[in-house]
């Protein structure tokens, strides 16, 4: 057995230690669910810039990071935030105004790219995207690709099936592996060594984690090792992949964390409204991001009543009959 290395540390320290300017990163969750929002806001407050973000479908965290100017390069399948913003607003603006470099993929391609990184293979094949602009149109130029050793030389490659027509396919799209410098996820339960138990959908968190050199886990509940070891089949991530563990209750707020709280549709709407206007967005950030010094203070500002309104029902895992318009 491994000696029980305690990887717990304050979130501020984990972010400053592992999320460096120019780092290639990914964040867990999907659109408005289980984003590591406490870590996202900490990255913004620490003004860490020039980040290269890999995303399948990102929403709340993506738009905060782009809006704050932290992202310079983006590889992505989808930028949307549910009903509040079917297309993420700062994401769309950043592309329309040429503020970031970006490249489009599909959700399966991005998931497979993380999986290839996790497996240690250079690429994985899929039948997705043949004949599409996703395959034929590169977002990053050849010279950019050559100038950065962390970016693969080609976007995607259509290759003949090396096994003839085995599997009833003549050609496949080879999607190159991703190995982020750091991935940050938010989970329901973790122990001090970093073993994680996720409730509800895991999305592609497990592949993202296993593909990454460093992993920061924020958790609702920091539990004793024994609590996780009693039910090992409930644990998706063993500690060997994890670098730092930060205990941050409501660390996914304002996104949903299954079994704990729902997404805060009022907050997401407030963000979307502000994101449409430069001055309103600055005011939003001054109040809700830069105006607080920690996630704890942010939650105090949100208020107990709001957090109580989105509390999950223990049976269904979401806030039953919550007002969501």
């Amino acid at each position: 057995m491994n000696k029980d290395t305690d990887k717990t540390m304050p979130l501020r320290e984990a972010v400053s230690r592992y999320v460096k300017k120019g780092a290639h990163i990914s964040i867990g969750g999907f659109t408005l669910n289980r984003n590591p929002m406490a870590a996202v806001y900490e990255i913004i407050r620490q003004k860490i810039t020039d980040l290269h973000l890999y995303a399948h479908s990102n929403g709340t965290g993506l738009d905060e990071l782009i809006g704050a100017g932290c992202i310079s390069k983006l590889e992505i399948a989808y930028g949307g935030n549910g009903k509040a913003a079917p297309t993420c607003i700062r994401f769309a603006r950043a592309i329309q105004n040429n503020d970031i470099l970006f490249e489009d993929y599909s959700n399966y391609m991005m998931s497979l790219r993380f999986m290839a990184g996790a497996m240690g293979v250079p690429f994985l094949p899929t039948l997705s995207g043949l004949g599409s602009n996703i395959v034929s149109t590169w977002g990053f130029s050849e010279s950019l690709r050559r100038s950065d050793p962390k970016i693969v030389d080609r976007k995607l490659a259509v290759v003949d099936n090396p096994f003839g027509d085995w599997g009833n396919a003549k050609k496949v799209v080879a999607v190159p592996a991703i190995t982020p410098d750091v991935t940050i996820i938010h989970v329901q339960k973790a122990d001090a060594m970093g073993t994680c138990s996720i409730k509800g959908l895991a999305f592609a968190d497990v592949e993202q984690v296993k593909a990454s050199r460093h992993v920061i886990v924020t958790c609702e509940n920091l539990v004793e090792k024994a609590a996780l070891r009693k039910n090992p089949d409930m644990n998706q991530i063993p500690f060997i992949h994890v670098t730092a563990v930060c205990h941050v209750p409501f660390g996914g707020y304002p996104t949903a964390v299954y079994g704990h709280y729902d997404y805060d549709s009022q907050y997401l709407k407030k963000f979307a409204a502000a994101a449409k206007d430069k001055d309103a967005f600055t005011a939003y950030q001054d109040t809700w991001v830069y105006g607080v010094n920690s996630h704890e203070q942010f939650l105090q500002q949100v208020g107990k009543d709001r957090l109580a309104a989105i509390a999950a029902d223990p049976e269904t895992g979401y806030s039953v009959n919550m007002k969501r318009d």
């Binding site: 989808y78 399966y108 997705s128 050609k171 959908l201």
Partner: protein, 259 residues
Amino acid sequence: MDMSYTPKEIMTIMAAREIKNGDIVFSGTGISMLAAMAAKKINAPDSVIFFETGAMDSLLEEIPFAVADPRIMYWAAANASLTDAFATMQNRITGDRVIAILGAAQIDMYGNLNTTCIGDYFSPDIRFSGSGGGCDVASFVPRCIAFMQHEKRKFVNQLDYLTSPGQLSGNGSREAAGLRPGGVSVVVTNLGVMRFDPDTGRMYLDQYYPGTTPGMILENTQFYMDVSRAVQALPPTETELKILRENCDPQRLILGPAG
């Protein structure tokens, strides 16, 4: 019972009729989820709804507003992962049973879809969310329903970006590119229902709704479409409307104001 209906109501019913009993239905949110729910309650009780995020056969006691909504995680057969969900469609054992429902900003005469941008890719006039799982679904599954508003700027000669492959440039080019037969097979709009010629891969008018005409549909389409096979659609029946209104979306969260 008010037998008049809104465009959203007839679109939902027309899509629901495409779903067969036993189908595995890939669903997004909004009207596509409502169509999947309506089919399950009207004509395809053994159909199964699933989401790209990995939830299979969720209970859906409350209407989810996103495919990552915690409401899809409750009482599912399994909460799996993205890689699992797409493998379900790529693999032929389950993939051939899947019917998908997609939306798009633009569609062309071959059923190719654009959900990425309007204008130049690098400096677009409008940037949309992007493929998500749309490209994967259109690549993998044999039958896809596309939901569209029928407008000239959306039914275009040339897509600004081909996000999700349909018949590519027709006449077998989809298969020549290496894709299996499939992609968008039916387009449901506020005016009618379009399908694709099996030989040429080109869109033709299959049904126009009561109150619309093939001429109106052509006027709202940039490309020429064969209308010689078109018939008037059977309007929604009392049973269909009743189940849709009372059992699927009683709060009209997706259907919106009654007609």
